[in-house]
Amino acid sequence: MSIVFWVIKRDLLLAMRRKSDVLTTLFFFVIVTSLFPLGVGPEPQLLKAIGPGVLWVGALLATMLSLGRMFAADHADGTLEQMLICPESLSLIVLSKVVVHWLATGLPLVLMSPLLGLQFGIEGEALRVLTLSLLLGTPVLSLVGAIGASLTLGLRGGGVLVSLLVLPLYIPVLIFGAGAVDASTSGIGAQGHLSLLGALLVLALLATPKAVASALRISLE
């Protein structure tokens, strides 16, 4: 069990030390969402309609871009080798790393989203649903993303590969996430969407650590 402690402590320490890595993701999220009004023009009605979609796409892209960092540094400097030959369960290590990844990328996005939502004129219940959907959805993005990140470790142009691999897997999350807000504004109620997101989260929590562990073993052959 203490391995979890050490992995989390180490990764948090590194995240603090490389603060700008965390900021990159957050900042990217802010940029994406703020550029849109500049690109599509200032009509409030239009902006309100596309707001939830833009925020969700932004969160998705921001997470996707941060995936490269999840294992790359550990791979390049040999720490990952040490983790593989360490006596503890690899799935546990993986899970700890994903948790820190989410704390450093997903959580800030969630905290930031109400503010950005306001910029698009999303308010009240809709804003609450948006934040909640992100809170449930971003951990799934981190978990599923870990599979892509581990499979492409050390490959030429890992970047595009990660995107290619995880994108199709992200789409259900995006649809339920952005859909939740629309459902709540159109009066259907967001309950269904949010429960589905929760189900996805549980599924991902159960299935991904093992998959990632074997992917890591494959990649470090």
Binding site: L13, D77, Q82
Partner: protein, 211 residues
């Protein structure tokens, strides 16, 4: 091939293939406490590959590696008994020597006291540099950070890939005496190096790979 009580690590008929090139076949040895196995050979002959195989990072094309009679694959006990240090440093540039040491040891399953760590750094010649981020250290100092793990660890088997590269003569002397102590205490050592390094303790064994 009868397994003697003492032989802890045993490799039989290992073969290694990289790309479409066969690097070596039929490599085997046994290692008992207090023995030192020197893997020699020219550049590119497969020394690093063999060491990675022995640590379980590379699956052998053929042959097996056993620890106390059990295959090392998914063998927790083996991984608890092992330290492997490769070409890569395995240290984080942003963290200080102290943080690096504490964390690698933590990951390997045991805690280091601040005091012991300071002792180790003093012995290995990093005194006064423990709290600098390792990226500002010189080439040799970075190697020392990595090697400091050997000073605090209590594991019986060390697998080291060119550990003394980039070290100055003082540091090499220190490493030599450290290795000797380890062997005297019944540890085992598997190592490659292109520089000469004569140890006055332990039983010397050698594997020579050709290219």
């Amino acid at each position: 091939m009868v397994l003697t009580a003492e032989s802890m690590l045993e490799a039989t008929e290992l073969a290694c293939m990289r790309g479409d090139r066969i690097l070596f076949t039929d490599v085997g040895f046994r290692l008992a406490p207090g023995e030192f196995l020197h893997v020699r050979g020219p550049n590119g002959s497969g020394k690093s590959s063999l060491l990675r195989m022995l640590s379980g990072l590379l699956l052998p094309e053929a042959g097996t590696v056993t620890w106390q009679g059990r295959n090392i694959k998914n063998n927790e006990e083996y991984h608890r008994a092992l330290i492997y240090l490769g070409h890569l440093n395995g240290i984080k540039e942003e963290l200080s020597a102290m943080e690096n040491l504490k964390i690698t040891c933590g990951l390997a399953g045991f805690d280091v006291e601040e005091k012991d760590a300071l002792d180790a750094f003093e012995r290995i010649g990093l005194f006064g540099r423990e709290h600098l981020p390792t990226k500002v250290l010189s080439q040799g100092q970075r190697r020392r950070v990595m090697l400091s793990r050997l000073l605090v660890a209590q594991t019986p088997l060390w697998i080291l890939d060119e550990p003394i590269v980039a070290l100055d003569t003082d540091a090499i002397g220190l490493m030599r005496s450290l290795f000797e102590l380890h062997l005297e205490n019944g540890g085992m050592l598997i190592m490659t190096t292109h520089q000469e390094l004569e140890l006055s303790a332990g039983i010397y064994k050698e594997i020579r790979l050709t290219s």
